[in-house]
């Protein structure tokens, strides 16, 4: 088709739009935010979704079951004040009853069953496992928060300030990074235990126990380094962006720029590595509990339950298997969920 060049204006192009044309321009799909996109991708990942459900179920169970359970984690059922200890409550197998409970059963009363029996001191084992799960989860969560706060603060300062400040922080990071972490954790935990006990006596911290606090301190001292490295790297690349220059030109202060521009932009990386830090912390806590450096008795944690179970392992192997399964399940689902989070929220790492 040959088209001749013409100076005539096509009048049709200037007519008001018809209804059909207007319809065509309307956006059918509402615009999606980065966060909503990520959640959608996350929910499509079946493994991550299942892991999330498992984590939520375990967390809810560990929070709510102790509220209505008739036994408590430190209640020795055979011990009544003013009476001799009733040893028939010790080492009950699942669904067995102590002597006085049996009498009540014969009299027609209902007695709440010991689903997993009792331990060697006559404490209901099921509630100890539930409570231990709660402690382990809480320790993992708070330790990660501590790591997050310290790592984020120092990492963003190093990344934003650069120069001498950056160099000093990064040399400290280098050295802490090359320290053998587990050995240092054991060393610090074993010493802090003795040092902290008199210090925290009578304060609110006493209830948490010196071991848990020393675990938090150790985490705060040692594990912030990889987080701060990560954030520093992010900030270094973000710092060169035009909007930071624009904010500086508009007279924004350094702390404002870090808080309002830089940190929100590396938030997905931060969330992912925090999520992956939680199973790490749970791992460490259970390891320390196993060595006798974890939670203070009679408070249970999954690691200390497994460690206690070793004593009667030939007669009561389920006492080891149950906390072992719970801990593996928690760590596994947290790891898988963290991987899913990374795939969903970090476009750079997505393959």
């Amino acid at each position: 088709m040959d088209r001749k060049f013409t100076l005539h204006v096509n009048v049709d192009a200037f007519l008001p739009a018809t209804e059909a044309e207007k319809e065509y321009m309307v956006q059918m799909r509402p615009s999606s935010t980065f966060f909503r996109d990520g959640v959608k991708r996350l929910l499509k990942n079946r493994i991550a979704t299942i892991s999330l459900i498992v984590i939520i179920l375990i967390t809810l169970a560990s929070v709510f079951i102790p509220m209505f359970w008739p036994y408590s984690y430190d209640n020795m059922l055979g011990v009544t004040p003013g009476k001799p200890v009733d040893a028939s409550f010790n080492n009950l197998r699942p669904f067995e009853y102590g002597r006085s409970e049996q009498k009540r059963l014969e009299a027609g009363e209902t007695v709440f069953p010991h689903i997993l029996g009792t331990d060697s001191s006559g404490r209901d084992y099921f509630i100890r496992v539930v409570y231990g799960t709660r402690i382990s989860l809480a320790v993992g969560f708070f330790a990660s928060i501590i790591v997050l706060v310290i790592g984020m603060t120092l990492g963003s300062i190093a990344g934003y300030c650069g120069g001498k400040v950056d160099m000093i922080i990064m040399r400290i990071v280098d050295i802490i990074y090359s320290l053998p972490d587990m050995l240092m954790v054991i060393l610090l935990a074993s010493v802090l235990k003795t040092t902290l006990t008199p210090v925290i006596e009578g304060t609110a911290f006493e209830k948490i126990g010196s071991n848990i606090i020393s675990l938090f301190i150790v985490f705060g001292v040692l594990y912030w380094v990889s987080m701060s490295r990560l954030i520093r790297g992010q900030i270094l690349s973000l710092r060169e962006q035009e909007y930071v220059l624009a904010a500086q030109a508009a007279g924004a202060k350094g702390s404002w720029i870090i808080r309002k521009h830089l940190l929100p932009n590396c938030i997905s990386v931060v969330i992912i590595s925090t999520a992956l830090q939680i199973p790490n912390a749970i791992f460490t806590e259970s390891f320390l509990s196993f060595l006798g450096l974890g939670v203070n008795a009679p408070m249970p944690s999954l690691g200390s339950l497994a460690s206690d179970a070793l004593n009667g392992i030939s007669s009561y192997p389920y006492r080891l298997v149950i906390p072992a399964v719970v801990i593996s399940l928690i760590v596994l689902s947290l790891n898988l969920f963290g991987d899913g989070l990374r795939d969903a929220f970090d476009p750079k790492l997505r393959t």
Binding site: S190, G303, L310, S328
Partner: protein
């Protein structure tokens, strides 16, 4: 090797020395910060006996003087002083004693993990998305999520108590089988995953396609080209693997009653045998730092493409 590589190696060695010094310093001051000193908790002793003991172990001198003496003794003759609880024995002798068993345990576990891990990883990569690959990945994911003390205890329940196949006590050489397997499982799973992903990476490279196009047999491609190059990232895992085996042996030796250094370490923590805790921490930390150094340097030397920053 160019000057850049040599500079990198020097820098890493310097950092390693610095790290060892930091470990010694932290250990020393942390131990001295314990209230009451190392003799607290002993049976009631008179003030005179206490002073005599402190004089004997040099604890009455100023702190900095003690620190420099300690540092000098370690650097010049590996002397960590006498053990406080095992009377008459030097810490370094106890460590050397325990090291014999633990080194055997650790080395066999490391080799086992390396060989099985590489084979499984290569297999999974070559059979990508087939059933074999999926089974291997599920099993390794499970092993990576299980703390060593749980793996160890479960193996103990299964093989020593339920099946009564192997002894639960690690003093005989047959009894070392379970501790070795326990220690090897996690690094094995990790190496499997590492080998698989790097093998997949290598198999997608141009030179593999070129080799295929030239008509090189698939066996030669796998063993001559792919496997050799995909093992390079595994080198970086040597350091962390040793660190894992060292810490893992603490609990594994406890579970299976293996008379190694890990068990000594744990009991010295319970007994508050401070020179022993310090000595073991420093020796094990040095081992890990040296292994990290070696694997880092090896990694850069083996693959010249790797950027030295």
């Amino acid at each position: 090797m160019n000057s850049k590589t040599i500079l990198y190696i020097l820098k890493r060695i310097l950092l390693a020395i610095l790290t060892v010094w930091v470990v010694i310093t932290i250990t020393f001051f942390v131990m001295r910060a314990v209230p009451g000193g190392p003799f607290m908790g002993e049976k009631a002793i008179t003030a005179a006996a206490q002073a005599a003991l402190e004089a004997k172990y040099g604890l009455d001198k100023p702190l900095m003087e003690q620190y420099f003496t300690y540092l000098k003794d370690i650097v010049t003759r590996f002397d960590f002083g006498p053990s406080l609880k095992q009377r008459g024995r030097m810490v370094i002798d106890i460590i050397a004693d325990g090291m014999r068993t633990s080194a055997k345990l650790g080395l066999i576990a490391a080799f086992l993990a390396l060989i099985v891990g590489v084979v499984l990883g290569a297999l999974a990569a070559l059979r990508r998305n087939k059933l074999v690959d999926k089974i291997i990945m599920v099993i390794t994911t499970a092993f990576v999520s299980m703390p060593s003390f749980i793996i160890g205890s479960l193996l103990l329940v299964l093989f020593s108590i339920k099946l009564a196949l192997l002894p639960a006590n690690g003093t005989t050489s047959q009894g070392l089988i379970l501790p070795i397997v326990t220690l090897a499982l996690y690094p094995m799973a990790y190496i499997t995953r590492l080998t698989r992903s790097s093998m997949l990476d290598v198999l997608g490279q141009d030179y593999i396609r070129t080799a295929k196009a030239k008509g090189v047999s698939s066996g030669k491609i796998i063993f001559g080209h792919a496997l050799k190059n995909s093992l390079i990232p595994v080198i970086t895992y040597f350091g962390p693997m040793l660190a894992y085996i060292v810490t893992g042996s603490l609990v594994v030796e406890q579970i299976f009653a293996v008379p190694g250094i890990g068990r000594q370490f744990v009991s010295s923590i319970t007994n508050r045998d401070y020179p022993m805790i310090m000595g073991t921490t420093i020796v094990l930390a040095c081992l890990i730092v040296i292994m990290n150094l070696v694997s880092d340097i090896l990694y850069k030397v083996v693959d010249p493409r790797i950027n030295l920053e």
